[in-house]
C-alpha cells in the first residue's frame, strides 16, 4: 500500500513534467518558425552585397553599418519615416476617438436599427481594399487632396474605425451597465458617466486598440501606393520601391535595413500592448 502511495504522485509528477516539457518545446518551435525570418532580415541588413548570396548562407561575416548609413542619411527615407509616423498616429487617434464613441453607443444605447447599422459597418470591412482604392484616388484627385497626409489618414479610417468600433463594443458590453447607472444616480450625465467611469476603466483596452490601429496603419501599403506620389509617401511604399527597383535589381541589404528599422517601433508597441492587456480590466467592480 505504502509503496503505491509514494510512487503514484511521483509518477504523476514525472508525467506532468513530460507534458510541461513538450509544451515548452512546442512553444519554442513555433516561436522559431515565426522569428527566423525576422532574424534573417536583421542578419542580412548587416551584410555586404557579396555576403548576401553565398551558398551555403553565412552566419558569420564582417558586419557592416554601411547600408544603414547610406539609406538613413539619404533624404527620402527619414522623410518617409516621418510621414509614416504622422499618418499612422493621426489615423490611430482619429479612429480611436470616433470608434470608441460609436462602439459605446452600439453597446449601450437602445436604438432601433442600431444592430443592423453596426453589422453594415462591419460588412464594409469585407470589401476588398483595391475596390475602394481607385474610387478613393478619383475623389482625392477631384478635391485636390492627392499626396497629402490628411487624405491617407481619412483613407485609413475607413478600415480602422469599424475595427476599433467592434473591438470597443465587445469591451463595453462586458462591463456591467450598473457602473454607468450608478454614476448617473451619483450625479453624472450619460456623457459624464462615460468619461469619468467607463473611459478610465477601459484605458487598457483603449490603449491596446489604439496601438493595434497604429500598427495596421503603419504597415499599410495599397492605399499609400495609390494616394501618394512624392510628399506623403510612407515607408511601406518606399520598401516596395526598393524591392521593385528594376534597374539595379532588388537591393537586399537596403530592403532588410529599412525593414528592420520599420519593424522596431511595431515590436515596441506590441510589447506595450501585451503589458496593458495583462492588467485586469473591470476587476473588482462587481461581486468578483
Amino acid at each position: 500500500m505504502t509503496s503505491i502511495d509514494t510512487t503514484a504522485p511521483k509518477l504523476r509528477r514525472r508525467r506532468r513534467s513530460y507534458s510541461h516539457a513538450a509544451r515548452v518545446g512546442g512553444a519554442i518551435f513555433i516561436s522559431l518558425l515565426f522569428l527566423f525570418p525576422v532574424f534573417w532580415m536583421v542578419l542580412t541588413s548587416f551584410k555586404s552585397q557579396v555576403d548576401i548570396f553565398t551558398t551555403p548562407p553565412k552566419l558569420f561575416f564582417d558586419a557592416t553599418w554601411a547600408t544603414y548609413i547610406e539609406y538613413f542619411t539619404r533624404a527620402d527615407i527619414p522623410d518617409r519615416l516621418l510621414n509614416t509616423v504622422i499618418v499612422a498616429t493621426g489615423a490611430g487617434i482619429l479612429s480611436i476617438v470616433v470608434g470608441t464613441l460609436s462602439g459605446y453607443a452600439l453597446a449601450r444605447i437602445r436604438l432601433r436599427g442600431a444592430a443592423t447599422f453596426g453589422v453594415l459597418i462591419l460588412m464594409s470591412r469585407g470589401v476588398p481594399p483595391i475596390a475602394l482604392a481607385v474610387p478613393m484616388f478619383l475623389v482625392a484627385r477631384n478635391m485636390g487632396l492627392t499626396d497629402k497626409h490628411i487624405t491617407l489618414i481619412f483613407a485609413y479610417c475607413t478600415f480602422l474605425i469599424p475595427y476599433v468600433m467592434w473591438l470597443m463594443r465587445s469591451f463595453f458590453v462586458s462591463l456591467p451597465k450598473e457602473l454607468e447607472e450608478s454614476a448617473m444616480i451619483d450625479g453624472c450625465s450619460r456623457f459624464g458617466a462615460f468619461f469619468k467611469i467607463i473611459v478610465p476603466i477601459s484605458m487598457p483596452g483603449i490603449l491596446s486598440t489604439l496601438i493595434f490601429s497604429i500598427i495596421l496603419a503603419w504597415e499599410e501599403l495599397l492605399f499609400a501606393l495609390v494616394l501618394t506620389s512624392r510628399d506623403a509617401v510612407t515607408i511601406p511604399v518606399a520598401i516596395a520601391g526598393i524591392a521593385g527597383d528594376t534597374e539595379t535589381g532588388a537591393n537586399w541589404a537596403a530592403l532588410t535595413a529599412v525593414g528592420t528599422v520599420t519593424v522596431i517601433p511595431v515590436v515596441i508597441f506590441a510589447l506595450l500592448v501585451q503589458k496593458w492587456l495583462i492588467q485586469g480590466l473591470a476587476d473588482g467592480a462587481t461581486k468578483g
Binding site: 456591467p176 450598473e178 457602473l179 447607472e181 450608478s182 454614476a183 448617473m184 444616480i185 451619483d186 450625479g187 453624472c188 450625465s189 459624464g192 467611469i197 478610465p200 476603466i201 485586469g280 473591470a282 476587476d283 473588482g284 467592480a285 462587481t286 461581486k287 468578483g288
Partner: protein, 356 residues
Amino acid sequence: MSTLDINNVRKAYGAVQVIHGITLNIQDGEFVALVGPSGCGKSTLLRMIAGLEEVTAGDIAIGDRDVTDLPPKARDIAMVFQNYALYPHMTVRDNMGFALKQRRTPKAEIQERVADAARILGLEDLLGRKPRALSGGQRQRVAMGRAIVRNPNVFLFDEPLSNLDAKLRVQMRSEIKELHQRLRTTTVYVTHDQIEAMTLADRVVVMNGGVIEQEGPPLELYDHPKSVFVAAFIGSPPMNFFEGSIENATVLRLDDGTKLQLPKPDPKGRERITMGVRPEHFELADAGWPATVSVVEATGSETQITARIAGKLIRVLVRGRTDVKAGENIHLTVNPDLIHMFDPAPIPDVALEEDH
C-alpha cells in the same frame, strides 16, 4: 428624507406591458420591500423610481416634486445594486465621495462625511483600498457607504444581498435594519427572498405579473393572505394547500375522493376552494385528518415532519421534539382560526421551492 408616491405607473416595452398600473404611497421614513418571483416587475418598478427606466404612463413624486421625467441625478436618490457597481479604478474613499464630488461639495466636507459613513459601516481601515482588494461583504458595505454618504431623500436597494453567502446575508440583513433604524431614510427594497422582506420591512408589497397582489405589514400578510399566491409566497416552510369541493358545509372533498372534515364552514360559502394550512399550525392529535409520515427531521428546537394525506405531500412543523417515526400513521388537527380558505387557484412554483 421624503415621501415617495407612485401613481398608476405603467411600463411597456413596445407592445408588451410589464407593469400594469401600480399605485403605492410610501411614508417619510418608511421601509417598503417589493417582493415577488422573478419577472414580476419589482426591479423594473425600482428602476423607474431611480429614473433608469422611462415611465410609460402614470407619475412618480418624491416629496412634493414630480420626478417622472427627471434624469436620475436630479432625483436625489441613492441606489445599491445587486452587483454593487463599485468604480474599480477608485479607492473606497473616492467611491464613497464620488457623488458629493459631482455635486461640488467642499473637499473638507466630503472628507468628513466619508469618514462618518466609514465609521458607521466599519470601513475606516479600508478607505485606501481599491474594490478588487475587498471581500464580497466588504464590497457590499462600501456600496451601502456610497449610498448613505449622500444623505438622499430615498434609498433604493436592488437585491443587495443575493450575491452573498447565507451567513453573510443574515449578518448584512441585520446591519441594513440597524442602519435604517438609525437614519430613518425612506427605503424601497427589492428582493425575491420573502424572509428578507418580512424581517426588514415596515410594509411588504407582494407583486405578481406586474400588479400588486397584496400589501401590508409583514405579519398581516402572514396572518391574512388574500390569495393562494401570497399565501404560498409568504412563510417558510411554505403553506400546504388542498383543493377540493365543499360538501355539507364542513367537508372538503379532494379530487381523489378523500374527505377532510373542516373545523369551520367557508365564510364565503363557495362550492370549491383551495384550503391552506401553514406547517406550524398543524397539531398532532388522536383523531383528525389521517396522514402517513414519510420523513422526520429534527433540528432540536423544532421537528419537521413530511407526511402524506391522500397521496399528497404535506409539511408539518412541530415545536420541540416528537416521537413520531417514519411510516407511522398520525392524525392532524388545525385550530379553526388558523385555517385559510381561498378561491381555487394554481399554486405558484415559489411554494414548491425550498427556501435558502
